[in-house]
Symmetry: C2
Subunit: 333 residues, 2 copies
Amino acid sequence: MADRTVRRVTSADVARMAGVSRATVSYVLNETPHQTISAGTRGRVLDAAARLGYAPSAAARTLRTGRSQLVLCLLPDWPIGNEVGALLGNLSSALARQGLTFVAHPGSREDRPISEIWKAITPAAVLAFAEFSDDEIDAMRAAGVALVVALLGRSRQRRRELEVPQHLVGRLQAGHLAGQGHTRLGYAYPDDDRVRIFAEPRLDGVRAGCTAHGLDAPLVQTVPLDPEAAATAVRRWRDAGVTGVCAYNDEVALAVLAGLRRRGLRAPDGLAVVGVDDIPAARLAEPALTTVTTDQTAVAAHLADTVVAAINGRPEPAASVADLVHVVRRASA
Amino acid sequence: MADRTVRRVTSADVARMAGVSRATVSYVLNETPHQTISAGTRGRVLDAAARLGYAPSAAARTLRTGRSQLVLCLLPDWPIGNEVGALLGNLSSALARQGLTFVAHPGSREDRPISEIWKAITPAAVLAFAEFSDDEIDAMRAAGVALVVALLGRSRQRRRELEVPQHLVGRLQAGHLAGQGHTRLGYAYPDDDRVRIFAEPRLDGVRAGCTAHGLDAPLVQTVPLDPEAAATAVRRWRDAGVTGVCAYNDEVALAVLAGLRRRGLRAPDGLAVVGVDDIPAARLAEPALTTVTTDQTAVAAHLADTVVAAINGRPEPAASVADLVHVVRRASA
DNA sequence: GATCGCGAGTTACACGTGTAAGTTGCCGAC
DNA sequence: GTCGGCAACTTACACGTGTAACTCGCGATC
């Protein structure tokens, strides 16, 4: 009867089977440059590794090199929706193609200082939606993290990778309404402080869009996800002569639609409404919601390229912003 | 000028500062049982560790013990919504209180064999929504994973932790409609094979609820997230004498509401509709959607207890299913 | 007064890897 | 005929930790 405790297959086992030293195994498997290995040995090593089902110990490799193959993403404490979920999925796929494993850590910073998290993982790179303090960034770099990216918000050294798409979203919303002939726009701001880092660049984009089309700045109102409260916002907009509203996202847009109903009105006549994200509920709403979507695959691919480049010490690639966002035309605007 | 490459603080540094051996530091910091350390030494070690900002190397610890402090959750490839997001967040908090770090890995299994993932992490436990093959389970156990939990679907050795709540959800939906006097029910099944593992136990719950109230089995129809297709389903239900419909989730329920509108009808008179999840769009719909919610905090807490118990070799705790799901009464049923 | 027990530590090894430095044998150049 | 150079490897160490096994002094016990 075999040993109860099944031992892990190590590179020493592969070496023994291939009849070479452990170093040779390492050189072959890692394709180390400037090392000359004959085709015969190479084949024997590869064969032995495959036959034994060898997988290197991530812990040992991390200990030795001081850096793991993990990319850590710190999720925000506000509920993540489909669109962020899609971004994470695409990011994971894109990084997997480069041999990096993507993991996400949900949960607010209050639970545990974030240093606990990355010290428990030693990631190659850290992505986060919110900002880092300079101290945090220094501590992470000192611990061997190659790259720290704040996707949004202030960041000392890196540019904010998601900022541009958010800005474009806002511009496109405003542009769509301006193209429909609306001359006085409103902005439906979310009633949740935690998403401000997303809302601000979108609102800036709407402002820029208004300016570009020669319109006045949008009339901003906070809209809770509640029909009654939304109805109040609708009244104020209409009193001010607003005819089209850009909403922070589809949920806020749905609230505006509900507010219109409360007042016996309906989009687009009472108020044209444009959302963001194209959630499933958007096309099921009454009227169906016009909305703006982002090509999360493209964003994820660029983000993955940036991470890989930084880990390998190469300069970061330029972003292509063309065709990143689109309007999905439906009945509400 | 100091050394450019900032060295990591190790337990040896702490030992030097406290004037003790490295082993003593380890014993103090890990509170190893059956080790007698004087209060004085203990204090000096703790003080030195705090002063130096010492954090143990996860890689070294993992290498030594053969098991990391990470709990890995493999996310499904279908889009995760708010409710799963909330579950993950709560789970992360609950595990953090026990010293475990929770990480989620998004992305389909097609990208990369899942063995690549857990070999790159060596987690203490693995949670997944879908099933594992027996071979996968064996391989993971052999690699040192203490616990493998399939939250849903078949699983050889562990029970499926999320199965019961899904079943309860279905029962409660049926019970609510039965309580309103409906005698012939329909079930709106999602048009996405990937969520079958969620849909089946919910549908089973609805069936059980019908039986418990002496009703016929529900008339099941697949409902795509499209108003026109939903309208067809609505016609068939009404032709069959169905007066109340349980939907897989709120999005499918919104589709049913849209289908009713297409036919000039409205809930609850044309067809009473009950959703699941209470997404933000539910209370903004017309009419506002009655729905069933699950206490994700309680589910997460129990799941965390199960994980911790398994890692420490204790028997798994019993689940309390009382008050886990609730009906949110609105206009649609 | 030798012995035992025990509190309070220390020494030493193992975990599995990457890689710098060293060791062959062989071939071509002077 | 020697010597440098190179292909093809091997030897040996370091990474930072947990823990079994050992040491040492000291007070109590027979």
